[in-house]
């Protein structure tokens, strides 16, 4: 039998963030399995970003625990930092650097040795058939390529968890599909993916979801479980029901 800690990539218990009398995140609990694609959804101000920042060790919780691979985030923020990767909704690579320079820069930030960066980069660019592109400036690349590269950079140091913030908003459906192929490749290698988004079609790609509303988790489960719990035909409908705005559906 595997030991229990190995099974969970993320464990959050009674996590809370208060700003004075305002409770941004209200004692939430959830767990994410290794290799799972987990979606954290909610309207603006529901507490998604605050939760994400606490999970990344950028913000200290006022109560509760968050563990990544069994390590306490607030106890060991430095060691947690090496276990995670982050890709923002806005293209986060340096446009004025070449592809190779971006990998070298981010690899360095995550504490990789230059020889390691070189080796992994060569392997990656060979596999993606882009060895001749390594010296191209990032800004010259098509949008779809940038999106894929940003994910590769975020997962280059083999993090056990990659956080994606609205990863596919504004890209065409084919690019989006290619992007998901990369994510699927990563989860088959047991990388855990956390997606924060308020675009509901992205939610349907997740294995499980937590929907946040006013700092609390108001729905938690697989997309199908949530749909049947709310007797809804789409995630869109679930959102309107949680917000008490079902009249819009009429």
């Amino acid at each position: 039998m595997e030991n229990k800690e190995a099974q969970w990539s993320i464990e959050v218990e009674n996590l809370e963030k208060r700003y004075g009398s305002f409770i941004a995140v209200d004692k939430i609990s959830f767990r994410v399995k290794k290799g799972e694609i987990f979606g954290l959804l909610g309207a603006n101000g529901a507490g998604k970003t605050t939760t994400l920042r606490m999970l990344c060790g950028l913000l200290a919780p006022t109560a509760g625990i968050a563990l990544i691979d069994g390590t306490g985030v607030s106890q060991n923020p430095e060691s947690v930092r090496f276990k995670i990767g982050y890709m923002s909704q806005h293209f986060s690579l340096y446009e004025d650097l070449t592809i190779w320079e971006n990998f070298r820069f981010y690899g360095g930030i995550y504490g990789m040795k230059l020889s390691e960066i070189k080796g992994k980069f060569n392997e990656l660019s060979y596999r993606l058939n882009m060895s001749d592109q390594a010296q191209r400036l990032t800004r010259e690349l098509p949008v779809g390529w940038k999106q894929k590269l940003a994910f590769m950079v975020a997962s280059f140091h083999n993090p056990s968890v990659v956080f994606l913030d609205e990863p596919t908003s504004g890209v065409d459906p084919l690019v989006r599909r290619q992007f998901w192929d990369l994510i699927y490749e990563a989860v088959l290698k047991d990388t855990t993916i956390i997606i924060t988004t308020h675009y509901l079609d992205e939610a349907m790609y997740c294995d499980r979801l937590a929907i946040m509303d006013q700092g609390k988790i108001s729905a938690y489960g697989t997309p199908n479980e949530i749909l049947s719990h709310y007797k809804a035909s789409s995630m869109h409908e679930v959102f309107l029901k949680i917000a008490g705005k079902e009249d819009i559906l009429a």
């Binding site: 890209v171 998901w180 699927y184 079609d201 790609y205 997309p223 869109h236 819009i248």
Partner: protein, 304 residues
């Protein structure tokens, strides 16, 4: 109401719009749908008389966008992609300011704004910069409507706002239809097609087609299967061994297989039954959604 004939726009080496022609009817909600960089904003700016086309003609009613720009500016309401109201003015001050510029008063066309104003009312003294994204968009819509335009040009009004506010915004647009306002709305979100009477699909400055959402679905010439019950991450690599005329991709928690030959379901079933993934699955023929149609048109146009 709006007619485009061979509109192109070239910025240096980039062709932002490539020979675009179509018509928009009076009183329609017409969606310009496409990813970032597909030319939607450029087209709206040409219609708003803020950019001149490099080639072609565009008319709004009887007015030409290049010749009669002054007349056009009086009959359009334009909501740019960037929030462009005064952040330091309150909701009420912004409304009064825009009313004044257009030589009208808030009360005069209040019937148009009534629905939207019920949302804004509690915040009328609040500065625009302190509104939520959804409220900002509602205020911007109010300011674009204040002079009772016959045409609304809305550039990505729902981008970046939360799902509930998006739904509210689209509902408000539907309610405007009874006032016979023609609405042109751009969006990168394909699921918003259902809020439109007709849509135009754009990619890299090219028009992939114009039709009703239902028309696009009917024109889909392939058979589309949905396979549920097996995690797409596991199923996709297996199905990629299908012949290349079968398009295989994930869509949410299902995997879709699109094929020109309906008989291929037998190959597909056999493949799934032989598979090492011993899991129950369900396979169904499904109707394509707008993303599926977009993919098919893209492959037709670009031969990918």
């Amino acid at each position: 109401m709006i007619s485009l004939q061979g509109i192109s726009k070239i910025f240096g080496a980039i062709t932002a719009l490539d020979n675009i022609s179509f018509e928009i009817n009076k009183g329609e909600i017409f969606g310009l749908i496409g990813p970032d960089g597909s030319g939607k904003s450029t087209l709206l700016r040409i219609l708003a008389t803020l950019l001149r086309p490099s080639a072609g003609h565009a008319k709004i009613g009887k007015y030409d966008v290049e010749v009669d720009y002054k007349a056009i500016r009086k009959i359009i309401g334009y909501m740019p992609g960037q929030f462009s109201l005064y952040p330091d003015l309150s909701v009420e001050e912004n409304l009064n300011f825009f009313a004044h510029i257009f030589g009208t008063r808030l009360e005069e066309n209040y019937f148009l704004l009534r629905d939207i104003f019920t949302y804004l009312e509690p915040f009328r003294k609040r500065r625009a910069s302190h509104l939520s994204g959804g409220m900002k968009q509602k205020l911007a819509l109010s300011c674009a409507l204040i002079h009772r335009p016959t045409i609304l040009l809305l550039d990505e009004p729902t981008t970046g706002i939360d799902p509930v506010s998006r739904a509210e915004f689209l509902m408000l647009l539907k309610n405007l239809k009874k006032h016979e306002i023609t609405i042109l709305i751009s969006t990168p979100y394909m699921d918003e097609a259902s809020a439109c009477d007709r849509i135009a699909l754009f990619k890299n400055g090219k028009l992939l087609g114009v039709d009703t959402p239902g028309g696009f679905r009917e024109a889909y010439k392939r058979t589309l299967y949905s396979i549920r019950g097996i995690r797409p991450a596991r199923l996709l690599p297996e199905l990629r061994t299908l012949p290349s005329h079968c398009w295989v991709y994930a869509s949410g928690n299902e995997v879709k297989v699109s094929t020109p030959n309906p008989n291929e379901i037998y190959i597909l079933r056999e493949m799934l039954d032989r598979s090492t993934i011993k899991q129950n699955y369900q396979i169904h023929v499904i109707e394509p959604d707008i993303e599926d149609c977009f993919i098919a048109r893209m492959k037709d146009t670009y031969g990918e």
